[in-house]
């Protein structure tokens, strides 16, 4: 794959997700799944609002922000007025539309995506500090969450040649 001589292949990625919007969570999931599909070890660490992606109640209902999001467009490409985005139900509608678009590209819902990643040997972790802060318990999380750990423990997994830490 690598054309550059003397370049060492990537062996492990440690990905940190601290946000809970559809785009931030999917960036993490696509990179994590993409890694295991290439035979690269993947460890995913969810913290702060990123915990929504691994919390049973919220994981399949993630939203994208329709307010203060300059890249948001109407279908067809016209600008999406922020005031429209603030109306009740608009964000939910737009988010549902986004999820259905992804489904058409065979991008799975969050729970199934976690299932795919762990099937390939990827590991999912929750940040202890954030878990305590949001008063969550192990039972609140998807069965795919391997453990609740500190950032120190996460760093301890990030050693070895050919390892990269990615913050989404």
């Amino acid at each position: 794959m690598s054309d550059v001589k003397n370049e060492k292949p990537l062996k492990k990625v440690c990905i940190i997700c601290a946000k809970g919007s559809i785009e931030d969570v999917y960036a993490t999931l696509v990179m994590g799944n993409g890694a295991v599909m290439e035979g690269i070890e993947a460890k995913l660490f969810f913290t702060f609002f990123g915990l929504d992606a691994i919390t049973k109640k919220t994981m399949n209902k993630l939203h994208t922000s329709t307010v203060g999001n300059p890249a948001m467009r109407m279908p067809g490409g016209l600008p999406f007025p922020t005031l429209l985005g603030a109306l009740p139900g608009v964000e939910a509608g737009v988010s549902a539309m986004m999820r259905s678009q992804m489904e058409k590209l065979d991008i799975p819902p969050v729970d199934e995506f976690l299932d795919m990643i762990t099937a390939g040997g990827g590991e999912i972790y929750a940040c202890k500090l954030a878990v305590d802060m949001f008063k969550l318990e192990k039972e609140d999380f998807s069965e795919h969450v391997k453990d609740i750990i500190t950032i120190g423990e996460f760093y301890a997994m990030a050693g070895g040649e050919g390892t990269q830490i990615i913050f989404t």
Partner: protein
């Protein structure tokens, strides 16, 4: 492009070793390609390869999710059949182009 002897005949492959013409494929070709990955093809492997060939011929974009829903093998099983590259290695052994999907 390069020529490679697979299944007892000379076959054209890309620089990364994917067959350039999926019609050149046979089970013997697949089993020769599998040797590079130290995979010994079983019935299950062949079922997956044939599934991929069918979907490719139908013009569908292939993903591990699609294979997982095929009823042949689940995703965990797919990783066990083709370690280190469930879609890439299986596509190569199926004689179809390198996958272009990210999932």
């Amino acid at each position: 492009m390069a020529e490679k002897v697979l299944g007892g005949k000379s076959v054209e492959v890309t620089d990364e070793g994917y067959l350039t013409n999926m019609a050149d494929w046979s089970e013997e070709v697949a089993s020769d390609l599998a040797k590079e990955y130290e995979i010994v093809l079983t019935e299950k492997h062949l079922e997956v390869l044939n599934f991929l060939r069918e979907k490719q011929a139908a013009g569908e974009t292939l993903t591990i999710r699609k294979v997982g829903k095929s009823g042949i093998v689940d995703i965990k099983g797919l990783y066990q059949l083709f370690p280190g590259g469930p879609l890439k290695i299986s596509s190569k052994l199926a004689g179809i182009p390198k996958p272009t999907s990210c999932v």
